[in-house]
Structure formats: structure tokens, C-alpha cells
Point group: none
Chain length 212, copies 4
């Protein structure tokens, strides 16, 4: 017999196809109202093939949860790369605001929300989600700390608490923007900026900003 007919890259590509198909299905109908039959139909493969790439249906959910982490991580990386922490935060906010308003990411958001619910009952998923949350929080806290070190952020702010609040805020906004078709991203962005400014910037700066 000939072994390893397919390269790893080919196999990975196949896996991705199935994963993308699953994402679309899950977004449309939710995890539990999506059958493996739906997924394979959407992916254009057979039932048997599905099980060559995933051990169970829950496996797919977990794999998608990882994906989500990766995209978040990407955003963070970009933000952290900025040398100016204020600009870094701005990049972070804008990026996130854009994905909220961008219909192209709608599927991912819809599936992410379902993942949050799933995390309640699936230990593996929960661990991934929590770990991801902590990681993002650390990134943001570090940005804030750098801003404090450089004297541009108030020294008495709590990087940890603020970071956590910001992640929570983003998650909540994801919910709202996904439920409602329209989403006033400008108003929201302004509010967040105000909040962050009021909390992080020294009074003098804050005042100046307001007076603009």
C-alpha cells in the first residue's frame, strides 16, 4: 500500500474546509441545531470523511474556540507592537469596533457567543476561554502599565482591574451588536474612549480633551 498519500498541508487544508463549513452552520443554527450531516453537506464531504478529521462533533467546537483565541491574539499582538501605549489602546479599540461592525466577522462572533455558553458545561472549552481571557487581560494590563511608566497614564489606576473591565465591555458589546442588526459604533467608540480617558489620563489631559 502507498502510505501518506496526502501531505500534511493537504490534510490541514481539508480540515480547514470542514472547520469553515462548521463555522457557517453553527452561526446559522447554533451548535446544537447543527448536525454533522449539515456540516458535511456544507463542506462537500462525506460523513465518513468528517470522522477522519475530527474525533467527535464536540471536537469541532473546541477547535473553533481555539481559532477565536488566535484571532484575538492577533489583534493583541498588533496592539502590543505599537511603541506608544496610548496608540496601542487606540488600535485595540478600533480593531475591535471594526470587527463588531463588519458583517464579515459576524459568523465568528455568533459562534463565539455560543462558545461562551458552551464553556459553562464543557470543561475543556471553559479552560480555553478563560485562558484566552486572561491572556488578553495581561496584554492590555501591560499596555496600561507601560503607559503609567511613561507617565502618560495616571499612576493610581489599576491596570489589572481596568483591563478586566475592558475585556468585559468588549464582550458585552459583541452581544449587543450581534443581536441587533445595526450598531452605532461611533457613539460606542466615543463612550469607550471617554471612559478610558477619564480613568487613565491625568486630570489635566482629561480636561483638555474635553475642552477640544
Amino acid at each position: 500500500m502507498n502510505m501518506a498519500k496526502f501531505t500534511d498541508a493537504q490534510k490541514e487544508a481539508r480540515r480547514r474546509e470542514i472547520l469553515d463549513a462548521a463555522l457557517r452552520c453553527f452561526s446559522r443554527n447554533g451548535f446544537h441545531n447543527t448536525t454533522t450531516a449539515d456540516i458535511v453537506r456544507e463542506a462537500g464531504v462525506s460523513q465518513g470523511t468528517f470522522y477522519l478529521y475530527f474525533k467527535t462533533k464536540d471536537d469541532v467546537i473546541a477547535a473553533l474556540a481555539d481559532d477565536e483565541s488566535q484571532s484575538d491574539a492577533l489583534i493583541n499582538a498588533m496592539a502590543a507592537a505599537e511603541s506608544d501605549p496610548v496608540a496601542g489602546l487606540t488600535v485595540l479599540f478600533n480593531r475591535h469596533g471594526q470587527t463588531l461592525a463588519n458583517p464579515q466577522h459576524a459568523d465568528e462572533h455568533r459562534v463565539a457567543i455560543q462558545g461562551w455558553a458552551e464553556a459553562l458545561r464543557d470543561e475543556a472549552i471553559r479552560k480555553r476561554v478563560v485562558a484566552n481571557t486572561l491572556r488578553v487581560e495581561q496584554e492590555i494590563a501591560r499596555l496600561i502599565a507601560r503607559g503609567q511608566e511613561s507617565g502618560r497614564f495616571r499612576a493610581d489606576a489599576e491596570p489589572q482591574g481596568i483591563a478586566r473591565a475592558l475585556v468585559a465591555l468588549f464582550r458585552g458589546l459583541t452581544l449587543q451588536s450581534t443581536w441587533e442588526g445595526a450598531f452605532d459604533s461611533k457613539l460606542t467608540a466615543k463612550t469607550i474612549e471617554d471612559m478610558v480617558r477619564g480613568t487613565l489620563l491625568p486630570v489635566a489631559n482629561a480636561t483638555k480633551t474635553r475642552e477640544k
Copy 2:
């Protein structure tokens, strides 16, 4: 003739029992991993009885979504009742922070999160959740507006945007506190207060507070 065998109150009580049982089950295993058999076992009634009080299993989910609305409404009512809008907001934050930390409300939060996911695919649930969101936002926005009228909040704040952000923030915190066993409510409460203060209070006040 028409001697009502059971009063409406009795029937409502029965319904509540089933609803509470369902809440416990859903909290434990999630909507979709809870069978009607689980619910009736927990409630101590027969399968048939369940369908005497609910048309379908999804009906229970919707009913629970309503419940959630009611409890939120209660909180708001109390907050709005305060003559001092600043105190009103404080009541609101404390209340919410307490329920987050209170294990007694854990079931409700766990089910609420699942409801958010469910809202993505069930129009009826989505409408309820969105309507509830708007209602809460209005309440908070009104509190803020009253604070602005009395000159205690900055006039240039956007009540609507801030209210929306606060609701989002609360939702996100609900996620985090439910996933992680422990939740540093003190740090979180302080952060939120800071955020709100920095955003709402006039600079002079904000500064004073900070200096305390």
C-alpha cells in the same frame, strides 16, 4: 358547575416549580443537554404534566428569559426610586456586583448566558432579550440625565452611550464571574466606579475623589 378546581394561584405555583426545576437543570447541563425527562424528574411531576404548563421545551427557555427580565427590572426600579441619581447608580452597581458574587444567583446567571446564545437563533427569545436590554439602558440613561440636570454629572456626557456601555460591561462581567469560581468583586467595583466617575463627574469632583 364551573367550580375552578385549582385557583390560578395554585396553577401559577405549579408552573413556578417546574420553571425552577428547569432552571436548576439548565444551569447544570445547559439547555440542550437537559431533557424534558430531567426537568420533570427534578420537578417531581410527570411528563404529561410538564406539557400541561408549557407548550414545548423552548417555551421554558423563553419563560426563563422573561423571569430574568423581571429581576433586572426590579433592580432598576429600586435604583430609579432613589432621589439622588449618584446614589441610584451606586445602588445599581452594588446590587449587580452582589448578585455576581452571590452563589445563590449562580444558576440564574448561567442560564442567562445560555439565553444569550439562544437569542441568536430564536427570534422570540432575541426580541425579549433586546427589549430587556433597551429597557435597562433607558433606566440608566434616565438616571444619568437626571444627574446632569441637577448639575452633578458633566453636561457633555452621552447618557445613551454610557448606559449602553454599562450594560455591556455588566454582561461581560457576568461571563467572567460565572466561568471563574472566584471573582474579585471589590477590584471590579472600584474600577467601574472609577470609570463612571471619570466619565460622569466634573473634573473638580473627579480630582477630589481621586485625592481622597
Copy 3:
């Protein structure tokens, strides 16, 4: 305790109401797609009351099968009452043709057909239907025999066989007229008359008739 609060007549009236309600329901949805809940709703009584008047749901079906017999019997009685057997048969045909075309009897026909199917699996119903069939056949055979005795029908006709064929014919026409909205009763009546004439009347008569 006071016994016999209701007279038999009152009880019978109540029973009839339920029976009529059941007939309407069965006609609409068939025996098996009609629930006892449907029947009591249509009759305006409670579930419990239903079981005061009927032992089981099948009981209702049997009772309706009897009803059918009675109405058929009525028709026969009238036909038999005619002193002239030819006129008697004519009455019989016309009566039957009229009920086929009459929408008022539609429910009864629809339920009768279901009874035929039910007779296949329910011994009690089958016995009733067969007994009824035989009785009607006897009546018709007797009419024919009387016609033969008076010399108006051909002596070599087989009353038994013809009677049986006529009953079969009527049943088949019931099917067709019930399935199809419209029913050309005139053409059918003429055909039956021709058939009977050709079979029963002496050649001379038959010819004369034709020549008219």
C-alpha cells in the same frame, strides 16, 4: 344522596350531543387523528363527562356505526313499504342518490367510509357492518323477489346476487362522490336504472323503455 338526577331522556340527549360532535370531528380529521380532547371541545363538555357516557373512544366509533345502520334501515323501510316493487327500487335509488349529492350527509358518508376501514381490524365493528349489509341485501332481494312473483321482473334473475351487486355499487359510488367534490348524479342514476332495467325487466319491456 339523590339518585337519578337526570332522566334517561336527558342523558340520551347528552349522549347524542357528544356523538354528533364526534361525527363532525371524525369527518374532519378521521378517527385516528381525532383526540378525545377534540371531541369534548366540540361537544362543550369536560373530559370526565365524556367517560360518563362512553367507555372508550372506540365505543364512539361503534355507536356511530350503529347510527349508520339505522339511517340505512330507514331508507329500506320506506322502500319496502311501497306496494309496487319497481317503485320501491326507484325510491331506493333516488334516496341514495340524493344523500350522495346532499352535502348535509357528507359527514355521515365520510365517517361511514372510515368505518369500513375500521371494520377490518375491529371485530365488533365488522360484525355490525356485515350484519347491516346482509340486512340491506335481504330487503332488496325481497323487493326483487316480489317483483318476480308479480311477473314484472324476469324470473331468471338472481335476487340475491343482484341485491349484493347493488349494495356494492352504492358503496363504490359513495366513495367516488365523497372524494370528488362534484358528482354527476344524473348520469349515474341513469346508468344504474339502465343496468337494473336490462337485468330485471323482461326483454319486451326493456326494449320499450329504450325506445322511449
Copy 4:
């Protein structure tokens, strides 16, 4: 790639097995007292397999209704093939009489009767049954018309009406022969022949026949 694991013929055979099993079950207990579990047990397949070949239980009923049509059509085809219309009718009568008396066809007749009842509430079935009825009527009417053209049948007979009456007659006889174990097919056949003769054959012929 797309190596058809099973040929269409194999799949059709499997479908037939289930269909035949269903026929036996329906014949025994009726549509509504036959469970899908009964059918799959009789067919020797699993529940899941059943739903691989039929969308619902009602689907099976419809499929059987079609089968019935086909067998009837077969009979007609044979009758129509006869060059002599009188002989054609005879073939038709004999065929039908034989299946009535033949216990091998008992199941089909029992199920056919149930289909008649089912046609009252299921539009799809009704359409099939009515269409089938019309088709058979047309065939018979054509036979009669051919007989008239060749001068062997009376010119004043109404092919349409007679055909319709004959179909009705056959249906009614199916009922009777199915309810009662025994069925005097000889007497019945003779009666039908007499009826048809009396109606269709010219007087001279009719008389001659009688005198035989």
C-alpha cells in the same frame, strides 16, 4: 471517487422489502395501529434505516397507494390489449374476480380499503386515488366505445357512466369480499355479466344469451 456503494437496484430492493413489510403490518393492524417499530421488526431493519428510505410513516402509505395504482394499471393494460372489446371486458372481470377470491391479494385489498379512508384526510393520497380511478374509468369507457363502434354494444349506452358504475361496483365488492371470509365469486361474476350484458348488448343478443 464517487463509487456508488449500492446500485439503485439494490436500494430499490431494500425499499421494496420495507414496503412489503409495511403492507403486511398495515393489513394486520391498520395504518394507525401499526408502529414504525412494527414495520422495521417485520422488515428486519433498524429504525434508522426505515427513515433512510421514507421521509415519514405517511410516506409509506402514499407509496403503497401508488403500488395499488400500478397493479390496477397492469390489469387494464391486459384488458385493453385484447382486440375484442367483449373479450376485453371479460378479462377485466375475471381478473378482478380472481384477485377478490385470491387470498394472496388479501393484504393488498385490506390496505387499499384503508387507503380509501386515508384519502379523505390526506390530499396527496386523495389525488392519487382519484387520478387512478379516472384512469381506470377511461380504460373501461374506451373498451365500451370500441365495442359500440364495432356494433357489438348498444349505441345508446353511455360508456362514461357505465365505466364509472363498474369501477364503483368493483370497489364495493372488494369491501364485501374482504370483510367476509368467503365470497361467492361465481354468483357475483354471473350477476355482473348479466348486468353488463343487459346494459350493453343489443336486445337480440341479450335475449339469446338469456336463452342459453
